[in-house]
């Protein structure tokens, strides 16, 4: 819990902000309360890890609008909506946009803690994956153009794309393909073609339907 993660709290109600921050603070969370969405946006930095407790109904920019802004910015911050309204259409919209949860005020503290923990875990994990992917991408970028071409063909149709087939498609010898394949596996730090396929998928280099 103390691994540098924040619980960001945006709510226009001072009572809520105060009591929630205090209760969570006692439990050891580092809470950053904000009175409005703008306030939060001005202070938030993307590489800060944690989760966002976001009030749904606020003047000027409400919770949903802020979520959209964060999505637009590509922020990975998991969002837990807390709302007094609790309307179904709003919650559906929020969940569609990637909210991890939608809690109706007043909520049980245990549930909130559970959700916060889950969100922080998600964030942590996502950040780990992000690190992995960025490694894969970096490694992929170190391949030559021919190697990139071959690795994509391999990753796309690993079953059907034998060295011979690829060689025929590219108009080069199968041996050369084998040679390239060994270099690709080495550069991408994978042992097998199957592992390459997995990594490529993870990094988004190829998509599922391509496979």
């Amino acid at each position: 819990m103390d691994d540098g993660q924040f619980v960001f709290l945006v709510d226009d109600d001072a009572d809520i902000r105060g009591s929630l921050a205090r209760a969570l603070g006692l439990r050891g969370y580092v809470v950053r309360p904000f009175a409005s969405a703008q306030d939060f946006l001005e202070n938030y930095e993307q590489d800060l890890s944690g989760c966002l407790l976001l009030d749904y109904g606020m003047p000027k920019m409400d919770g949903l609008q802020l979520q959209k802004r964060l999505n637009d910015m590509g922020s990975p911050l998991p969002v837990i909506f807390i709302t007094g309204h609790g309307g179904v259409p709003e919650s559906v919209e929020a969940m569609k946009m990637g909210a991890v949860d939608f809690l109706e005020k007043p909520f049980k503290q245990s549930v909130l803690i559970e959700r916060i923990e889950a969100a922080l875990e998600t964030d942590r994990r996502r950040r780990a994956v992000d690190m992995q992917i960025s490694g894969i991408v970096t490694r992929f970028q170190s391949l030559t153009d021919r190697e990139k071409e071959i690795s994509l063909l391999l990753a796309t149709r690993p079953g059907q794309n034998s060295s011979k087939e690829i060689a025929r498609q590219l108009g080069i010898s199968p041996r050369t393909v084998d040679h390239h394949r060994a270099r690709i596996l080495a550069k991408m730090d994978v042992a097998t073609v199957a592992e390459l396929v997995e990594t490529s998928l993870k990094a988004g280099l190829v998509s599922d339907h391509d496979v």
């Binding site: 226009d12 109600d13 009572d15 809520i16 105060g18 009591s19 929630l20 205090r22 209760a23 006692l26 439990r27 109904g57 606020m58 003047p59 000027k60 409400d62 807390i82 709302t83 007094g84 309204h85 609790g86 309307g87 109706e104 005020k105 007043p106 909520f107 049980k108 503290q109």
Partner: protein
């Protein structure tokens, strides 16, 4: 009480008669009296003039005699030395007039010849001769009528000197004939007067003086014979005020202090009437009058007329005074006047009796006519019956009366029919009691009673006994005097309520001020029911609208309520955690509990505000604090307002209690606030504020809700149903608000304010009667 025609006629006749006679009698009396008195005065002047003439005539011989003697003496016809002849001359003069008392001549030397009447037919001569010795100087000779000497003697004691006598000195000084003042003759003790004439010689010197004595007692007897009126009298005054002639000669001689005799002054005359007749006209100069004086005076209650008349002769400076009682002249007509008055009264009494009889005769047909008219109006005589014999004027009146009566009967019949058969209810109500005097078929039918059951009962008994307001209003209306109309609920025979509209007009029942009301009555039960239905519908619409509003508010309210609840759960959690895991922070728990308490109350406030709107609408006005209601209403829309970042500012002001149905007003305020919020929410304005203020105006509280929104187009008919600017609204909110405010005795209106829109409404203040 009207007076009888007969009495008026009799009294008027008698009175007029008496008046006329009185006027004639008195006018004639006064005219006669004046004329007679005038005549009396003229007569008195005549008498006075007569007296003066008589006196002149009476006295003139003395003067003539004196002057004749003087002429003879001065012409030497009779020499003074010849005393015999002088005596004879004087003797003859004396005999020429019976009023002469004596004639004499005195000269400058002191010689004196005097002849006087002694007794009847006996004369006495006195001769003073200064030339002889004293013993024989004064000689007396008695002579008969024929001048024969009867006896003679000397009187040596006599020292008479004519030159010392007044008549001599006066005539000598005056050098002309003079009259002396009257005086009492020493010898005869009679009043008399002397005419003296000086004898002037060739040398123009007075040689001597001739004197003639004349007794004026004769004047008094003349006056006593004089008729002045019946009981009047006259007397003569000398210039010094002495009375020298008077009907009673005994009054003329008075004793002076030195034993001499003199005339009495008018002031001391022993005749009070005479004194009163002259009055106080004696001055220091004696009798000094400019002309004759006609006067009147009163003595011992009797009225006199008087005349004071100077003789107007240079040598006789006398004044005659005449007087007589008025009654001598007008006594008869005075008596006559009394008689006439008595006659007048008698005639007047007779006239009165005659008038009474006459009036009775004139009045009889009139009375017969009056009786007949009374009988006709009571319906006991047919107007077509022949008239008793009467006057033409009364016959005309009778014709008019008969027409009037038949016209009235016709009108009455028409009214009776109209009244009884009218399709509307009609009643006559006694105004003092409310008793039904007359009812018609429609009214009986409406209530379900028979006419007999209703007449005699009061209208009030038809009103439900527990409906005190209507009872009071009815009592109030019938005790007034203006026509009126009002609506009331009455109870039919079967107990069913019937709404009626009653219009009443006051009529005078009789002369002594009693009034009754003719009222028309319409059954408005049906109309009332419709009105009530409409009212119920209105209230239902308001109710549903409020419910709908509640639904719309629910989300916001839930949020609003969840806020404090959430804070509470958080604070409970914090406290719980401290107690379980952080013993060092236990002191903070108290602060947490305080916060929890506050937040719980916040939640309670919201519930209370909510209850203000969900409370059942009993439609009963109540007194409440309008500001408290505004605070609660703000609470209810706060969530919405916050959603749109709108501030609702409640301007501080006085606390005002209003009288209204609270839940209805809450509905209006919430509606206005929500409209304002929506107006601002739809605008991009930066000033997001709603200002709510309260002020009191006279008998009302006024609430203003002002927003900074874009305003409302003028074309929109606000407060009308289905007029709206909102895409999702029915447009009923303001229409209902208007209905509600007006039902509570207030008004609601809209105006453009500086920044946006202002809605205002009024409500009657607590304790203000909205009627």
């Amino acid at each position: 009480m009207m007076k009888s025609l007969g009495a008026i006629l009799a009294l008027a006749l008698a009175g007029l008669q008496l008046l006329a006679i009185a006027v004639v009698v008195f006018s004639s009396y006064f005219t006669s009296e004046r004329t007679l008195l005038e005549h009396a005065r003229t007569q008195m002047v005549d008498v006075g003039t007569n007296v003066i003439q008589h006196t002149k005539w009476f006295m003139s011989p003395a003067r003539s005699a004196a002057e004749l003697s003087t002429a003879l003496a001065s012409n030497q016809i009779i020499r003074r030395e010849e005393r015999e002849n002088l005596e004879g001359l004087l003797f003859q003069q004396l005999r020429s007039a019976p009023q002469f008392a004596g004639a004499y001549y005195g000269d400058e030397a002191g010689n004196f010849v005097y002849v006087k009447r002694q007794d009847e037919n006996v004369y006495l001569t006195k001769i003073v001769d200064v030339a002889v010795s004293a013993r024989t100087r004064t000689k007396f000779i008695k002579r008969s009528e024929s001048f024969d000497s009867l006896e003679w003697f000397f009187d040596p004691e006599d020292r008479y000197d004519p030159r010392s006598r007044p008549w001599y000195r006066e005539a000598k000084a005056y050098r002309n004939s003079i009259w002396t003042d009257p005086y009492i003759f020493f010898t005869s003790q009679s009043p008399g007067i002397t005419a003296a004439t000086p004898v002037v010689g060739f040398d123009d010197r007075v040689q001597g003086v001739v004197g003639v004595d004349i007794e004026i007692r004769e004047l008094s007897s003349f006056l006593s014979q004089l008729r002045v009126g019946k009981n009047g009298a006259a007397f003569i005054l000398n210039r010094n005020g002495d009375v020298i002639a008077h009907p009673d000669p005994d009054l003329l001689i008075t004793q002076t202090n030195d034993g001499g005799l003199s005339f009495p002054s008018i002031d001391t005359l022993d005749d009070p009437i005479a004194r009163a007749a002259f009055g106080n006209r004696l001055s220091g100069d004696g009798v000094a009058l400019d002309g004759l004086i006609q006067s009147d005076f009163e003595h011992q209650g009797q009225q006199f007329v008087s005349l004071i008349m100077p003789f107007g002769l240079d040598d006789i400076p006398w004044t005659i005074v005449l007087y007589a009682p008025e009654n001598d002249f007008i006594g008869t007509i005075k008596e006559n006047r009394t008689q006439n008055t008595l006659i007048a009264v008698a005639v007047a009494a007779m006239t009165a009796l005659l008038g009474l009889a006459l009036a009775n005769k004139i009045h009889a047909p009139v009375r017969a006519f009056a009786v007949r008219s009374a009988l006709i109006s009571q319906g006991e005589v047919n107007p077509k019956d022949p008239m008793p014999t009467t006057y033409k004027e009364l016959e005309n009146a009778n014709t008019t009366l008969v027409n009037e009566i038949s016209q009235r009967r016709k009108t009455e019949a028409e009214y009776r029919l109209a009244f009884e058969k009218a399709s509307r209810g009609m009643v006559h109500i006694e105004s003092t009691t409310g008793r039904l005097l007359r009812v018609n078929e429609s009214f009986s039918k409406l209530l379900g009673f028979s006419e007999e059951e209703l007449v005699g009962t009061t209208f009030q008994s038809r009103i439900s006994a527990d409906d005190q307001d209507t009872l009071d209003e009815f009592e109030d209306r019938i005790s007034g005097h203006a026509s009126f109309g009002f609506e009331a609920k009455v109870i039919g025979k079967d107990g069913s309520p019937i709404w009626i509209s009653l219009n009443g007009i006051f009529f005078q029942a009789d002369a002594d001020g009693g009034t009754y009301i003719v009222a028309t009555i319409d059954d408005i039960t049906q109309a009332r029911a419709s009105e009530e239905q409409i009212e119920t519908l209105h209230r239902e619409i308001a109710h549903y609208s409020r419910q709908e509003m509640m639904g719309e508010l629910a989300t916001g309210l839930a949020h609003e309520l969840n806020q404090p609840l959430t804070a509470i759960t958080q604070n409970v959690d914090a406290a719980d955690y401290i107690l379980g895991h952080a013993p060092d922070k236990v002191p903070d728990v108290k602060g947490l509990l305080n916060e929890i308490d506050q937040q719980a109350h916040q939640a309670a406030d919201i519930i209370r505000a909510l209850r203000a709107l969900v409370r059942k609408d009993e439609n009963i006005p109540d007194d409440f604090d309008i500001r408290e209601l505004l605070v609660q209403a703000r609470r209810l829309v706060r969530s919405d307002a916050r959603q749109h970042a709108i501030d609702i500012v409640l301007v501080r002001g006085e606390d005002l209690q209003v009288r209204a149905v609270r839940v209805q007003i809450a509905q209006v305020v919430v509606n206005l606030l929500r409209n304002a919020i929506e107006a601002i929410a739809e605008s991009d304005s930066n000033a997001r504020k709603i200002t709510v203020s309260v002020q009191s105006t006279d008998k009302f509280a006024r609430v203003n809700v002002e927003d900074d929104g874009p305003g409302i187009a003028d074309s929109l008919r606000l407060f009308s149903p289905f007029e709206t600017t909102k895409s999702d609204g029915m447009g009923l909110g303001l229409s209902i608000s208007k209905t509600l405010i007006e039902a509570n005795g207030g008004e609601i209106w809209h105006e453009h304010s500086v920044k946006g829109t202002r809605f205002s409404f009024t409500l009657p203040l607590k304790g203000m009667d909205d009627g």
